[in-house]
Subunit: 297 residues, 2 copies
């Protein structure tokens, strides 16, 4: 790809720019962000040129990747659409995909599937910002791509998480570039992505946050009793340190799936509570351990 625009130069955008450059997958990288951020990104050699306006950054590019929170990316997609050159491809890195996909279908109509290939690298960190960006962020991570032309759920159906689409050459180039920066590509529909992530990503986050709230309510933040804890608690509270603004957008754009996942977890907790002291409790623990072991492999 000759010219790639990275819209948003936070942890994700900055890391993607660095990784694409390191892999030699882009000739010229255009950045978009606030003026001060552009200055720093240029200084560090993260980007080759920069624009404050997303439309100007996107113009003349072969690939445009929106690296902003979900709701922002949806707004920017409408904004850059009229400025894209013929045959340019748009992707994103948003944490939910159905709302972005719906916006893409609305904006691009029947050509949405060719023009937009939504994505989501599962490479979250508790840190954020360009200063934490790294060319290695995506090494070994799963990068979900959710083609817009597919109605069924390829992930559940194929049993392999692979989809036999015949993408046009730029979509193939994007895939090759992502593989070159170390990502492992998995295909599914936007809707399947959001249903799955509600359980595998958003729910773990909610649990950590709810655990922190429970402890704060029980003890108050400065209570010396809180020193009586082991590493397990710190592990379980790690995610609670994540960025509230980002999670507000994720939760808002995946409300229904997340509410279902939360209800399911509440039921399991109630089940454990009601089985305290009974044989069922041990059975549940054994079942959970088997599952946790399988996932580790």
């Amino acid at each position: 790809m000759k010219r790639v625009a990275i819209i948003g130069l936070g942890l994700m955008g900055g890391s993607l720019a660095l990784a694409l450059r390191q892999a030699g997958a882009a000739v010229h990288i255009v950045g978009c962000g606030r003026a001060e951020l552009l200055r720093r990104a240029l200084e560090k050699g993260v980007i080759d040129s920069g624009f404050v306006d997303a439309g100007e950054a996107a113009a003349e590019c072969d690939l445009v990747v929106l690296c902003t929170p979900v709701e922002t990316s949806i707004k920017l997609l409408a904004q850059i659409a009229p400025r894209l050159k013929a045959g340019a491809l748009v992707s994103d890195v948003g944490s939910t995909k159905a709302a972005f996909a719906a916006a893409a279908r609305k904006i691009f109509g029947t050509s949405a599937a060719e023009r937009v290939l939504p994505g989501h690298p599962l490479a979250g960190r508790e840190v954020s910002g360009l200063e934490n960006a790294s060319a290695e962020l995506f090494a070994g991570c799963v990068w979900v791509l959710t083609p817009l032309g597919v109605a069924e759920d390829p992930l559940s159906r194929s049993g392999k998480g692979r989809l036999n689409v015949a993408p046009d050459s730029l979509q193939r180039e994007l895939r090759e570039a992502l593989e070159a920066i170390g990502a492992r590509i998995v295909f599914c529909t936007p809707e399947e992505h959001d249903r799955t992530l509600a359980y595998t990503s958003h729910l773990p986050q909610m649990v950590s946050t709810a655990l922190a709230l429970t402890l704060e309510r029980a003890f108050g933040a400065g209570n010396p009793a809180l020193q009586v804890h082991a590493g397990g608690l710190r592990t379980m509270l790690r995610l609670a340190g994540s960025e509230p603004a980002m999670w507000e957008q994720i939760a808002a754009s995946n409300q229904q799936n997340l509410a279902a996942a939360l209800e399911a977890l509440e039921a399991e907790l109630r089940g454990l509570r009601e089985s305290l002291g009974s044989a069922e409790f041990r059975t549940s623990f054994e079942q959970a351990r088997e599952f946790a072991k399988l996932l580790k492999k």
Copy 2:
């Protein structure tokens, strides 16, 4: 201390024996366990002599530490009591303290506070067994001691987690030995310990287990959709890999406190679910993040 008995040679007992020896805190270490375990512990130099019978192991020792699960330790306490030499001190490493303390008060009556000083090192691991024992297990860990003669809650009252008891010389020797192996001693009552640990240790474990059960029910163990997850999920499922038999005993011996903690967490999860998409959601996330940050310090 001249002669110390370690009853139970799993991860905890084995590590304690190794650590006491390394710190030069015991002249002779007697082990107690199954014959095969004694053979291995003798071979590895973990213990100096061994007995299958706990009463025989405890006889003639200055300090006896019960390193078995809570319910087993309660049974063994009754069994070794008549064999203890005059002035000998008994301690334990059980994960809950009120049930063990009650047993000690029943068995030793008015001399319970001198004869038994219950303890709990917060040094859990997901691995177990003598083969994983290490002299370094307790380096930097909090070791709670719950003196039986104290009625109030020193931890909440003092604000420092320190108790001004004037222990007899053997109790002081035990404390010094634990500090010599790297532990940080915190005093509280057995009841306060169990209330606190229900939130800071048992609840995080239940959450991890319930999360595993929720995912298994939603997907089934072999579902390819489960590959679509990030490191956060693996982190949150780490504790779910813990030993079911141990947790069955912990939960059974701390049912009331744990049920209250679980109910509190269920309420927080319900609160988050009902606030999805509202401003309250963001506020909760910010509050949780502040708390998580404070705990890290």
